[in-house]
C-alpha cells in the first residue's frame, strides 16, 4: 500500500485505552464513547507529527470507495498535501459527530468524510447519514463561532482517483486560509 500517510483505521474500538485496542475487540453496536484511532493509535498521535505551524486535516475514508481511490492515488505516486491524515472506516455511516469534533479538539484543523456516490453506498444509506451528520456538525461549529468549512463531506467512486486528489487539495487550500483553532 503506497498511499502517503495512510494508516488503517480502527475507529470502532470500544472505550478502552487506545493502546490496548485489538481488532478482535471491535463490537460496533456496543461502542459507548468512541475513541478515534488509526491502527490503534489515538488521533492526537496520528496528527502529532505535524510540524509546528503546519495544519493537519483528518480524512475519514469509506473502505469501499474513497479508500480505494486513495490507495490508487498512492499506487500512482500522486503527491497529496502533507496535511492529510487518513483513517479508514467500514462505511461513512459509522462516523459520528463525536468522531469529527474529537478530531478537531485533539489538534486537527479540518476534518472531512469521503464516501461513496449518492445511491451507491455498499450499506445502502450510510453516506446519506454521514452527509446529514456532517451538516449537523457544521451547524454546531457555527453556533460556537468556528468556521463551518472545517468539516466537509465528499462523495466519489472507487475508481475516481482524480476526484480524491482534487478534494484533498481543495480541503487543504480551504483549511490553510483559516486561522488556527483556539484550544483550551
Amino acid at each position: 500500500m503506497n498511499v502517503p500517510v495512510v494508516a488503517e483505521a480502527e475507529p470502532t474500538a470500544p472505550a478502552v485505552a487506545a493502546t490496548e485496542v485489538r481488532v478482535a475487540q471491535v463490537r460496533v453496536a456496543q461502542v459507548r464513547v468512541p475513541e478515534i484511532s488509526a491502527a490503534g493509535v489515538p488521533v492526537s498521535e496520528v496528527i502529532a507529527d505535524a510540524a509546528d505551524g503546519e495544519r493537519s486535516i483528518v480524512a475519514f475514508l469509506c473502505r469501499e470507495c474513497a479508500y480505494s481511490a486513495a490507495d490508487a492515488a498512492g499506487n500512482a505516486r500522486t503527491s497529496l498535501p502533507p496535511t492529510i491524515r487518513t483513517i479508514m472506516v467500514p462505511c461513512t455511516g459509522r462516523v459520528s459527530p463525536l468522531h469529527l469534533l474529537a478530531a478537531l479538539a485533539e489538534g486537527a484543523d479540518g476534518v472531512y468524510v469521503a464516501g461513496c456516490l449518492e445511491g451507491q453506498c455498499h450499506h445502502r444509506v450510510g453516506n446519506f447519514h454521514a452527509l446529514d451528520r456532517v451538516a449537523f456538525v457544521r451547524r454546531l461549529l457555527r453556533s460556537v463561532g468556528v468556521e463551518p468549512e472545517r468539516a466537509a463531506m465528499f462523495t466519489m467512486s472507487a475508481a475516481d482517483t482524480p476526484r480524491f486528489v482534487a478534494t484533498a487539495r481543495g480541503m487543504d487550500a480551504t483549511i490553510s486560509q483559516l486561522p488556527r483553532l483556539p484550544r483550551s
Partner: protein
Amino acid sequence: MPLSARGRQIAGDLRGATSGVSAGVLGCDVVRHDELCVGCGRCVSACPTGAMRQDDWFDPAQLFSAPAGTGRGALAAALRRIARHEPSGPFRVPDRVRTFRRILFSADLCAGCGACVRACPTGAVEASPVPVGDLEVAARGLAPAGVGT
C-alpha cells in the same frame, strides 16, 4: 395539574374515570432531566397520549450541561475546547440525524402512565409517585363503576 381538552378526553376513556381527576390519574408525575436527554425520541413513540413531542431543533447549550462520562459529555468537552464563544441559539437539525432533537413535554396531556420512563435509554425521564391524597382521588377515579366508594 389541570387537564387539557385532549387530556380530559383520554381520562374520560379510562374505565370509571370521573372528571376532576388530576393528570396523575395513572399513578405518577413525570419529570424530565434535560441534561441527560439525548433527544432520541423513544419517549415520543412510547407515549400513548402525545404529551411528548420531538421537534426539528437542537439547542447546543443543552449539550454543555451533559454530565461527564457520557457520550454527550465527551461531545461537549470536545466542542468546548475549540469554541470561540458560548453556544448561540437553537438550530434546525438535518433530517437523518434522529437524535439531537428537543423533546417538548406538555404536562397537561400527560396521563402519568410511565411508559416514557421505561422507554428512556438514559434515565432522563423520571416518574415520581403522586402524593397519597391524590392517589386516593385517582383510585376512586379508576375503580370500575359501582365497585367501592
